[in-house]
Symmetry: D2
Subunit: 161 residues, 4 copies
């Protein structure tokens, strides 16, 4: 059976609101609740590596992600990540051979009624099950090469360079 | 830019409840509202061919679908379809060359809070954007060859034969 | 602390879709999941008396409901009920003294994203906590006397006679 | 027909996430979208007076709210408000005679799947339609006298003193 390994590192997709603090922080990996509530026919394992807004990630964080991806026995990997620096992380991973890695995230927290989280995770699952290898960004329903795309912050979409 | 043509033919994914009739019928293509509310970066066009429960589909219906798929200028095609006979329709389409066709649907109507519709449409989008050609079934987060899968009605999932 | 007894007897509010049967039946009391997921500061107990579409209810069913309401020790009672004959049941209960009973239901199943179920249950809770006694219908954000209202099936709303 | 005037002044109930700013601010009155999507049988008018987190409200803000409530021709009034200082505002309004005012809000933004917003607005509607006059707090499914309750920040619920 198909097996997919999922690493979660934070980002808007996992942001939750804490009334007591009157603020908004990265919480549990939302992909856990999303996949947990769906009729799924593939095996998967979710591992939380970080809980960071991607603007707060540094080289050490990206090296940690890279090490886990390189050492992972499973060939198909999805990474849920903040959208602001998802491309940087994609570039850092792009020399890992013989794996199919798809990074995704969301423009709105999974907890929002209007969130793109469930759709994006679906796109990532469809892509990682169909592509042979390489590192890819799955955002806004498109599959991008991290070296040839950028996040258009004004329009709130990823686009090809 | 990537363009995807989407044909909707009915199924549970589009079932809605009519209080006045105290019953449950196939309504508008739910994929319209689903994609319409998301930050999407590909062009798409939705065409409703039928509004049928797939148990009510016959050879004439499948021939209609086949004709539209064969004559469609767009290479990438998604079909939202009832899950009960999605595999039959997939087989009927499987000799169409030079297109990438992905059939999907849902076990629960898109209008349900717990529906798999959004996730499945995401998987179909990810698959049709990644696969080169051929006809595929995208259900339960897996991509299947219609000649080598079946719907396990007891478990409510599609599985490989 | 305030305590509310909730009887559920069926209706559209509790209708769920069974893919294996390709049909739609009254399921578990949805008020259980609705209140169970909210930060509630009153005590409540939910008892399922029936699981019927209210068009299928007969005098024996209404007598059963009446008996439970009359024998209930808690003064404040909410009944989740099908909308088609909610008024009939309200009339049957209207001679019970010294209780405050509010009947509510929904035009769309609680499981629907667009459902009025949560709002209606909220209205019923607000009403049963504010009214002194008597039997009332809480639908469409209004509180009605069951002897002076009707369900307008064409418009899908309850209105005063 | 019953008419209800609704003033919105901000609070968590209306907080939305802005990806571009990576932050979280009070947005449009969510009660507009909530009531707008339900089958409602009462007339209502929504007026936005402020868009403030209630921790940022001062005496001038409360005086502005008080003035609008006192001058409002409609007898039944709901105010959507931040939960942190809802009680203070309730006290400031409590000498207004001949009106029925119910303040409510939410512990989670209306935009959250798990939000208590819709339920709370329902409770407020049920209460303002049932109570004769006075100023009341409707939170956590309870109706409180603002002079005899407090917000328990640790438990995240309002409780009687």
């Amino acid at each position: 059976m198909v097996k997919i390994k999922i690493f979660s590192v934070g980002g808007t997709i996992d942001k939750v609101y804490f009334d007591k603090l009157s603020q908004y922080q990265v919480g549990f990996p939302s992909v856990r609740a999303i996949l947990g509530s769906l009729p799924i026919a593939f095996r998967y394992e979710i591992e939380s590596l970080l809980r960071k807004d991607s603007l707060d990630m540094d080289d050490a964080d990206r090296e940690l992600i890279r090490r886990h991806v390189a050492e992972e026995s499973c060939r198909r990997i999805i990474i849920t990540h903040g959208t602001d620096t998802m491309i940087e992380t994609g570039k850092v991973l792009s020399d890992i051979a013989e794996k199919c890695v798809v990074l995704t995230g969301a423009m709105e927290p999974a907890n929002f009624k209007s969130s793109d989280a469930v759709f994006n995770i679906g796109v990532a699952v469809g892509a990682v099950s169909s592509l042979s290898h390489g590192v890819h960004i799955a955002m806004n329903g498109r599959i991008f090469n991290p070296w040839r795309c950028r996040k258009n912050r004004d329009l709130g979409v990823f686009e090809e360079l």
